[in-house]
Symmetry: D2
């Protein structure tokens, strides 16, 4: 059997950008980081060291800055679409370009209760995500959330599960539920109102987490996805990847104390990981 080149792709990751838009009465600011991956006819580069069809990843980085110039990024999805189109439009041998744009979220600093015109405060590790995967035949656009850390102190149970010889976990009808939401949704059409949908899906995610009387992470995930799809025709599918940030009840009995479900140790490892896609038939 001969040895051949299979699936291959390359590009630039962690292209970071702060874009300032200087209005008369205020400045707007976006922080983004961009990852680009292309596929195409790169066999000669691999097998012969012939770079004639290789667009350097350094050029991809420059392209991010060039295409941002003079055209303020509003939605990560739209910037991902624009970048992916550029690579296919200018490079005939590229068959697919995948661009992922991650937005770091900032809000204005309040001074005397009013949002400041040019000063900002990071809102943490949460990212808004936009992804375009474009081939010669089609383009898929996804939105997403990463790093949304939440915790509820009640309204979460876990019971009725399988017990085998290695089971030691006690059933509970009242536990802490904490997770870091990572989600990706697919837009039915590539020119949706990305910003509105992101805000609404984020709102549904938070409100469902807060209000739902959860029997498991799985149930909450499914309900959230179902609500998103029931509410927005523009969304065709949503995926979740949720780590269970376990908060363990501390056993205070050996210390001569009772723990009335109040004192917990949050732990980072090991962690449960629950992943599901909710889609339309």
């Amino acid at each position: 059997m001969a040895v051949v080149l299979g699936q291959n792709n390359y590009g630039k990751s962690r292209v970071r950008l702060v874009q300032v838009t200087r209005h008369k009465d205020r400045h707007d600011m976006k922080e983004l980081d961009v990852a680009i991956q292309v596929q195409g006819d790169f066999t000669a580069a691999h097998t012969k060291g012939d770079n004639a069809k290789v667009l350097p990843t350094d050029t991809m980085k420059n392209t991010v800055y060039a295409l941002a110039q003079g055209d303020p990024v509003v939605d990560p999805e739209a910037f991902a679409l624009k970048l992916s189109a550029h690579f296919l439009d200018t490079q005939a041998h590229i068959s697919e370009a995948r661009v992922e744009v991650r937005e770091h979220l900032w809000k204005r600093i309040a001074v005397n209760g009013k949002p400041h015109r040019h000063s900002f405060l990071s809102t943490g590790d949460e990212r808004r995500v936009g992804i375009a995967t474009r081939s010669r035949a089609s383009v898929a656009v996804e939105g997403g959330i990463d790093g949304l850390l939440v915790l509820k102190t009640t309204g979460s149970a876990f019971a009725g599960y399988i017990k085998d010889r290695y089971t030691t976990l006690p059933e509970t009808d009242d536990r802490i539920f904490s997770t870091v939401v990572a989600s990706r949704w697919r837009y039915a059409i590539p020119d949706s109102d990305f910003g509105v949908l992101w805000r609404e899906i984020r709102r549904i995610t938070l409100e469902t987490f807060a209000e739902h009387n959860s029997q498991s992470v799985q149930q909450t995930v499914y309900l959230t996805g179902k609500l998103v799809l029931d509410t927005f025709d523009a969304i065709s599918e949503i995926r979740f990847s949720l780590p269970n940030k376990h908060c363990l009840l501390v056993n205070l009995a050996p210390l001569g104390l009772e723990n009335h479900n109040e004192i917990f140790v949050p732990t980072d490892e090991p962690y449960g990981l629950i992943e599901a896609t909710i889609k339309r038939t």
Copy 2:
């Protein structure tokens, strides 16, 4: 010259705690992590392997949970004071206990515009800090902020500095200024209104950052400290440690484009680091 034991201390770090307080109409929640270090008569442990005077760090960890039980933590400073007192009160050979309590900050999830009664959202990497350093003779209490990431798009200059043969940095009267505030302030008396002071120092820090027309990080740091000390007699000293999160203007000229002070690369390294203490005479 004989070899001897010099300065030594030991303790437990990263003791993590989530404390839930279950009110009828709502739950309160705190996430803390605690670091304890003690000094005292530990020579025999070092030189003879005699542990008769060693309180295990595992016991220190248990003590954090025991002292939190039934007494909801409000201010990190107060919990640090309580823990440090416990170790000196119960261990005659301990001469000093330093306890640092870091609060991870959460806010309530809004549901239909109203704060939810038991569901929370992390506000990011910022930490509120309380430190008690207690000896047999005295106790010092500090408050602090870590991880407060801010950025302003104008109102910052850097010019008029020394030029030597290795200087390449161009002077600028309009640059981005971004930093991660770490500050520690010392309370004049150990029973101050910690929560109010933390909120007010944080407000002064943010407002000064936003409003001050900065000639350097040093000038902004000094002004912030001066405002804090001018405003609050209860604060005797404040220190800052500020990394300069450089945002570099991208040179678009080789791409045939102009950069009207709009496109920047944020960088993590190398970084300037500016540290200063502002105090009373």
Copy 3:
């Protein structure tokens, strides 16, 4: 269109284990971390909150310890196979189990030039990886390397590539090439001699990196994969994911100095990322 549950899976990640095997003349030690993901009939858990078919991830964690007990892990692949078999053998409704075992690498401390019988030194961030993906019909076994950080100071060029309006990168016939190797190979049959193959593939990877006169990361990747497949019939396919850890030549001209290809800045971001699969026809 109705809303339905699509692809879903769950399990436990970062189950950490140190296993000590106490021989008369020496101790052996392994450090592993394990991630388990299962698929199967979990619709009711998602749609009804019915956990009757849910094996808790806590039980999966316990199972790792139980199956390690009394049976020292030698190869990560074999432990992954054993764990994946357990879940399919004991849970009729589980259709697929994927187990990834990562080995942290240690070597013995040398004392008077001889390997010590029970004391060890970490060799860094490199990991040996073994993965079993088992369904009712078949099992796939993969080996892998993560975190193998290498650098060569010459023997790497990058030239002859596409230039477009955004290209600024100069061609070079002598650059630093540094990367962190991540690779995964698929065994043709599930009972290969995993340890020998891991050592040999690692050796080929390092020697090819060192010796090959590279025209691009792509060319080095392909050659490495081809050599592995040409040498070992037991390997049916190998994938690489290589970040280009760029070392940029410092421009010393403004400082009145020449840089004879000697002074570089290593950078973490942005970074090129090159991925390819080499396989048999």
Copy 4:
């Protein structure tokens, strides 16, 4: 009471450098990162925004590259001495310069059993450290080790300690002892043979860890320091900061299994932290 500027310092951190020295038969390579902090007459910068005495941190960064050019770094300590001298020699208003140089450690890749002439492999997270703190009156030089991760499977006990009402830790005469050595030693004179001393102190640290029958981390720390000072007159003092990387015995009894001191969970938090200085009278 007037508000005044107290202790202040500033500089550049994480200045990264790869230096290649191209010999005929082989290349040498060093990876370093450098942090510089200076003190001096910087009051006007803080209080008036007057930068006339401010050497930009960007210039400090350039100086690192300029002083490395043409003069291959051998010992971190020597490069720290050279850099610190430069700042005091060229800037009359700087009263103290502290330079910390961290060396990332690499070894040559073996090809056919022989060290390759220009290809290298990282040896992990361990760093060799050199620090010079230079004032107008004196200079202090320190060497150090960071990130040396070790583990022994026996030869470590912990018993005979204080028990109080919160103690739950069982005494043990045979536990795993794992730590990440961080140490700093002070040279009696600033022109010691830094490389030889670093290698020897590292050897003593590893061999003592391996061979010593430890009653506590404290005892091992003290013994290591004593051996270093007893062996080398050139070292006047050594400090250690050792986290206890706890490996907890897994309770297999609920799973119907025995754990013959073989199955452990390594944990990152909470962790004991033991710090001590060993010095001469």
